[in-house]
Amino acid sequence: MQLESPLILASGILDENGYTMRRILEEGAAAVVTKSIGSTERPGFTPPVVAELGENLLNAIGLSNPGIEHFADEISIAKGIRKPVIGSIFGASAEEFSTLASKMESYGADAIELNLSCPHVKGFGSEVGSDPDLVEEIVTEVKAKVSVPVFAKLTPNVTDIVKIAKAAEKADALVLINTVKAIHIDIYARRPTLSNAYGGLSGPAIKPIGVRAVYDVYRETSKEIIGCGGISNFEDVIEYMMAGARAVEVGTALKTAGRAIFDNIKTDIIRFMEAEGLDGIQEIIGAGVKR
């Protein structure tokens, strides 16, 4: 998969509607990851599904999605512009994941991202993704089923992310990290703000946690890494790349900076490369890691 820049739209942010994905690609993202799609339609949780915590966000959308059977249209609308669309999927078993993956591939997705990391829905996401054996099984089966690249998106809500990364070794790349499990309580209403109580924390707060995960996995494995978590400016992108990421995904920052963020960061990265005398951005991958 060729990318014109390292900047990818993260799963779950502005990627449920094909037209939105297409616009984000037109306005500067190198690729988009779709919202995570499951086998059947799910309404997700009742609002409040997000809580604004300053620049950060707590969310429990609840994996709402139309079901894989209804998603073909969105992919083809998004693919109206010739840039990669990565299909994110979630399931409870290796079998479910591989069925979803082939459907996504048949719709034209340029790669598959396995959501092994959503922290707020029972039976899915990080519950699956914190079991190394299950992770290995899922990655192995999906790889056997599809020919497009397969990315495994991992959760930071584990004791040892390197262990999970090694279990996902057969994936073409690892996406690090998904949101961090968290809660916000409204002290006047005396209850959690999110209807689901538990949510996933994203935004600048989790950047040092994401950089740590990338750094750890880069040191301990030879996998390609896509960084994610709290990226909101070019410095964050460079930091993730210096920790070992080849590309990055951007999500919550769209709340503050809007869709223009991709173009703006791209401009700033070019300026940084000139100032630092870099010929290609690849030169910096892993440059900040002490070995």
Partner: protein, 248 residues
């Protein structure tokens, strides 16, 4: 979440009430808040009053609006915002076209230069009629129980829309879409405030998007120019789960 005590409640119709509260914030006409009924849900609400005293005007529609409308003075409202791109305020003659609870978001624009066209299903549901200067308001009802029988277009028929410096409209998407098609033929300045499902209010969840524009951030108000490129407008939208369906 912001919280405020309700200081007054006004019942405007059997299904519509206005809840007043103090909130020291700069809100512009057309902006909205996400209002939370703890334990029930969170929904978008336009601010119908934007002075020092703020208010929203809520129509009893489903579980959350039902809960909100039951709140009494002394109880708290919880909300976050303000969100959205406001209407552009102009000097000169304005035409306000409101369908149903869509009148709520137009209310801050009512002044002596404003002419009102209020569309309601029935006589009881007419909102804010008396706030226009006398002779400067026209009403349509679907059942003909008051004013002109018919929909918004019936009310526009013999109105010289060119004579207004700006037309503002808010209401159900189908009404707005028909209005849009009607106005497109004329040379008019118009801004339409759209309504779609909104889960996040802050431009991340994609539930409110029309052709890649987020209603909660790029809208809810759009100009005629912006709308002409939106093929989803009036035709397709996504449901709560994200399934693509026809608007009607």
């Amino acid at each position: 979440m912001i919280h405020a005590d309700i200081i007054r409640k006004e019942k405007l119709s059997p299904t519509v009430s206005t809840l007043y509260f103090h909130w020291d914030a700069d809100v512009k006409p057309g902006q909205f808040v996400m209002v939370w009924a703890p334990g029930t849900g969170e929904i978008p609400m336009s601010l119908s009053h934007i002075g020092k005293e703020k208010a929203f005007t809520v129509k009893n529609y489903g579980p959350t609006s039902d809960m909100l409308i039951k709140l009494e003075p002394g109880q708290k409202v919880y909300f976050r915002g303000p969100y959205g791109r406001p209407f552009s305020v102009v000097k000169g003659k304005t035409l306000l076209i409101g369908g149903g609870s869509g009148m709520a978001s137009l209310h801050p624009l009512i002044n002596r230069n404003a002419f009102g066209l209020i569309a309601a299903r029935t006589r009881e549901e007419i909102l804010f009629m008396n706030e226009f200067e006398s002779g400067k308001v026209r009403v349509t009802t679907d059942d003909g129980s008051f004013g002109i029988k018919g929909n918004v277009l019936a009310g526009l028929k013999d109105l010289d829309v060119d004579a207004f410096d700006m037309i503002y409209a808010c209401g159900p998407e189908i009404m707005l879409y028909n209005l849009y098609k009607y106005l497109k033929e004329k040379k008019v300045n118009a801004e339409l405030s759209l309504e779609r499902l909104m889960k996040c209010g802050v431009g991340v969840c994609d539930s409110c998007s029309i052709n890649g524009f987020q209603l909660c951030r790029d809208g809810p108000t759009f100009t005629m120019d912006q709308l002409q490129y939106m093929n989803e407008f009036g035709t397709e939208k996504l449901t709560f789960s994200g399934t693509r369906v026809n608007v009607h």
